[in-house]
């Protein structure tokens, strides 16, 4: 390129000086010049077709098409993006004899420019396709949102009935059954703690009990063991023990019912936020308290996890607590699920809040197995999930919901992950630009 520049473009009197915003030429003009962009930046575009354009940087030739082809009409308009210095040569400078030498000298440059333009066009096409895909995705989410809203609404009614009904049943059971203090203790134990004895543990305790009470049936001893008060029950008279177990089981079943209701409510809430919301946001929203609320909603999944809350001094934001709460519940539930059952390291969930610079920053870290490299770029998209268990949402929508909500707050979200664990960072600006 330098050789060509020296050979053809060093005439001091054939230079165009452009200021930013000036046109070199417009589309459809007669052009008999070949320009070399010595310094500056130019943009070539078709005023009728917004999609087509290219950028020229220093060292690029401009006007190659019109100079070397039969058609000397410009295909694009050329405008200076920065102040530019553009030496040029004209067709008129050359005679017939010079033609061969000229062609030979510029051939590589012409080919290079053509390839470059082709590549730029290809990239533009790819960008265009991606935009189309994103739009389709948005449409899909929108209809998914509508569907979810409908489903959520229907389910809500049913869940309300179940929830109120089971609370009522619990009340009535405690009031109506004439229980002595031991029996009341048994029902309450089931009701408040549920089935906390694992199947393996119950089997082991039952085996031990069998040694002390060989005449009792295996099945009975297993039942007693499941309450966590096996020895106590085994030392009661048969009828007392049987009734006590039945009452414990009743309490535990009601506990299970409440758990199922909580889970359903979580699912419905998450689905609701997929739809466009009519959420009322206000000033004075405390992110720390929405985090505490999330922790209480997840009391069950978080049972086997060590929780470290480091909630700093943060200002309130303009927002809706329930809406923000969904961000935390979805991320924390993911974390709890990721660490579920891991034995080789501790299950630690850390939530830290601070306000470094005009926004509230929430960092949620777990000590799970991390997110595989292959999917980490996709995790905010719908239907991407590492979860196969039926215990979780499993639709792969949790993080999509989170992302949607964060965007509504004009906030930001990022994730770091390694086999040691994963950290999600969410930032929410203080301000009211909603």
């Amino acid at each position: 390129m330098n050789g060509l520049a020296k050979k053809y473009f060093s005439k001091a009197d054939k230079i165009v000086f452009l200021q930013k915003g000036d046109y070199l030429f417009r589309k459809g003009e007669q052009n008999n010049n070949l320009y070399l962009l010595q310094s500056g930046r130019m943009k070539g575009f078709d005023p009728q077709d917004q999609g087509e354009f290219f950028e020229a940087e220093s060292g690029d030739f401009i006007g190659l098409h019109s100079f070397f082809s039969l058609v000397s009409t410009t295909r694009m308009s050329l405008i200076a993006l920065e102040d530019s210095v553009i030496p040029y040569i004209s067709k008129g400078d050359f005679s017939h004899e010079d033609a061969d030498e000229l062609n030979a000298d510029f051939m590589p440059a012409v080919i290079f420019m053509m390839l470059k333009r082709q590549e730029q066009a290809h990239q533009a096409s790819l960008r265009h396709q991606k935009i189309l895909r994103d739009m389709q995705e948005v449409e899909r989410l929108a209809s998914l949102g509508q569907l979810s809203a409908g489903v959520a609404h229907e389910l809500n009614n049913a869940i309300t009935v179940i929830s109120r009904g089971s609370d009522y049943i619990i009340q009535q059971v405690l009031d109506q059954l004439k229980c002595n203090s031991f029996e009341t203790e048994m029902i309450n134990a089931g009701l408040s703690q549920g089935r906390y004895v694992s199947s393996a543990e119950a089997r082991k305790v039952a085996r031990d009990l069998k040694k002390l009470h060989p005449s009792f049936s295996d099945a009975k001893l297993r039942d007693y063991a499941r309450t966590g008060m096996g020895e106590r029950l085994a030392s009661q008279p048969l009828e007392t023990a049987q009734r006590a177990f039945n009452l414990w089981n009743l309490g535990a079943s009601l506990y299970d019912l409440q758990l199922a209701v909580q889970q359903s409510e979580h699912v419905i809430n998450s689905m609701r936020s997929l739809a466009s919301t009519n959420v009322i946001r206000q000033a004075g929203c405390d992110i720390n308290s929405s985090i505490r609320h999330a922790v209480s909603l997840l009391s069950n999944p978080l049972k086997k996890v060590t929780l470290d809350l480091r909630l700093g001094e943060i200002p309130t934001v303009f927002g809706n607590s329930a809406e923000l709460c969904q961000i935390w519940t979805n991320i924390m539930k993911n974390a709890a699920d990721a660490m579920a059952g891991q034995l080789q390291k501790d299950s630690l969930l850390t939530v830290a809040t601070d306000a470094p610079d005009g926004y509230v920053r929430v960092r949620i870290s777990d000590t799970g197995p991390g997110i595989p490299d292959e999917i980490i770029d996709e995790i905010f998209k719908p239907h991407v999930t590492t979860k196969k268990t039926g215990q979780t949402f499993g639709l792969g929508l949790g993080l999509t919901i989170v992302h949607k909500i964060v965007k509504r707050y004009d906030g930001d979200m990022s994730v770091e992950s390694s086999p040691e664990g994963t950290t999600f960072t969410v930032t929410i600006p203080f301000g009211a630009t909603l």
Partner: protein
């Protein structure tokens, strides 16, 4: 008469309890063992095998935290010790591929989808028990109330034809 075992597997203890409760009528002739994972169940099965206990039937959930039900059943299909144990898979969410895999590689005997009805569950369990009884040349009269008459007729006829 020594009771054979029915093993129940689900990683969610509330669902496991529901299964236990629903299968209580079978406690008369079988020992119900609840397990919260495929690994726990396999370990238990090995213990039982060593002590000469019989395992008639396994009812397992499909989707579980670590090894899932189909994977467990595939392992069992290749384990000579447990070839004759009847296998039921319970699933709340299964794709075509899962079904094909279950049938081809895991030779499950029956599929039940969640939520199950107690009648359906009992019917399937009775079928499986009846098959197991004939597989082991046991007397079906010892298992009154737990026999499926269709299976009884089919298997009796087959036995008689030989």
């Amino acid at each position: 008469m020594k009771k054979a075992h029915i093993i129940l597997i689900d990683d969610q203890i509330d669902v496991l309890s529901a299964l236990l409760q629903d299968l209580k009528p079978f406690r008369e002739r079988f020992i119900l063992d609840d397990c919260q994972s495929a690994d726990e169940a396999y370990e238990l099965m090995e213990e039982l095998e060593v002590s000469g206990e019989q395992i008639a039937l396994i009812i397992s959930d499909h989707i579980m935290a670590n090894k899932n039900g189909i994977e467990l059943y595939a392992d069992l299909a290749h384990d000579q010790r447990f070839e004759d144990v009847r296998k039921i898979l319970i699933t709340g969410q299964a794709s075509h591929e899962d079904t094909i895999d279950a049938i081809n590689n895991a030779s499950i005997d029956y599929y039940i989808s969640k939520p199950w009805s107690i009648e359906e569950l009992h019917k399937v369990v009775r079928k499986m028990i009846t098959h197991w009884i004939f597989d082991h040349g046991l007397n079906h009269k010892d298992y009154e109330g737990m026999i499926d008459t269709d299976v009884l007729l089919k298997r009796s006829k087959a036995a008689g034809d030989r």
